[in-house]
Amino acid sequence: MSAQGAPQGEERKRNRYDFDRHAPGYRERFVEITEEMQSRCPVAWSETHGGHWVVSGNRELFEIARSAEYLSNDHDVKGERRGYQGINIPYAKRGKGMRGGFLEMDPPEQRHYRQALNPYLSPAAIQRWIPFLDEVARACIDEKIEQGSIDFIDDLANVVPAVFTLAMMGIPLRNWTIYNEPAHAGVYTRPDSPEMPRVIEMHIAMMRDLAGQLADVRKNPRPGLVDALVHAEINGQTPPDDELLGVLALLIGGGFDTTTALTAHALEWLSENPGERDRLSRERDTLLDSATEEFLRFYTPAPGDGRTISADCELAGTEFKEGDRVWLSWAMANRDPSVFPEPHTVDLDRKGNRHNSFGLGIHRCIGSNVARTAFKRMLLQVLDRMPDYRCDPEGTVHYETIGVIQGMRQLPATFTPGKRLGPGLDETLEILQKVCDEQRLAEPVTVRTTRADIPR
């Protein structure tokens, strides 16, 4: 990955940079590459992956990402429109023939889907789930609290977002293990890895379960995001099942690995900075919100998205042609010193933190309130129940590449053991399943406004 010298070809592509988000070197040299691109070519043309633009400057990204009239997210899998390839650059072979839900659609369809799902995912809707989230996190920690050691990924940060996502969807909680491994391994496994066939097999099992859930909810209605999709009218029509499955897969993909990645990175940083960890715990009433936003900015779990230019235009001083592919780097724009002073430092009470970690414009992450709330509830229980935890750098495994998610595979830690407070995870999930069913927790906020009431 490097800057290229003499301009070649079209004048509009004179600012060049050889960029590959999937290269291991991108993770290792992230700061250096970000600084070089922002200072030399905040909008750069890269010849990699068939040629595409890369936007790393914050101001440029702000202008381009919000220009909905010139951008398309469309993934035209059946070749019915203009053949656009959706949000992956390079084109993900694994995703061929499968549209990534409303993230790979344009309005009005995209808007209709969001209108159907927003009442399940708004701040008011997510607030109702806090007692549920606290109980899942409590059970996860209880499984490990007496032994004084935990893997924050396997034992906490994978579990809580997975169980919560399924609960909101209206899928049986015990099925979380069917979804958990493919949702993470599908992100970190390289296409050429010998592990890939096994990952694909697990992915197929997950999609089969999703298809089964869709059919089951149609037959035996129960509240949740699946039910919302079954009844959704998109442009006045009920969408075909393959389109709905793409939406369900998007909700799984968005709900699982991203929050895990945020939580893991924050816990690792707080272990390395115990003074800041103690301050965050002490001053949580004033510091938790800003610290959460700062971890979101600094670690940007979903580092970028692709777009296709839908009409010739000039944006942020660059001339684009219809059909051009553009990579919007939320992660690099979050480190732009012109907007974030000392951008490569974590500052738990950073002011003016207008980060892009949930995207910008009409595609703002629909699960942003889910991510923030699940993260905060997990973090608070760790601070309360294992305040002296220390992560083991030897056993920590980061994703080798950060092209899709900046995540972690392992984050082992030790701490002073404590007492259990309640039943273990399996028993807790059985109890919570009953609560979900009896209190119809997964109804939209337009139907049920009260909080979950967890018997203890």
Partner: protein, 66 residues
């Protein structure tokens, strides 16, 4: 001082209501923001200014009438 949230720009990032919960309310259904009252109490001006600086979509304006 008066505060204005541009409904065309707001995408429901919710930072304003986190920073100044006495000034901004979020829609129950989509989380989009609006001011509870366009007149900003004097003791809230600093927080509203911080909300303006923190909005990812730059959807909030604080207007000095004097």
């Amino acid at each position: 001082m008066k505060v204005y949230v541009d409904p065309e720009r707001c995408q429901g990032h919710t930072l304003c209501a986190m920073i100044a919960p006495k000034v901004f309310q979020l829609d129950d259904v989509d989380g989009h923001s609006s001011p509870i009252s366009e007149d900003v109490p004097a003791d809230q001006e600093e927080l509203v200014a911080e909300a303006v600086r923190s909005c990812p979509e730059r959807a909030i304006s604080l207007i000095d009438e004097h």
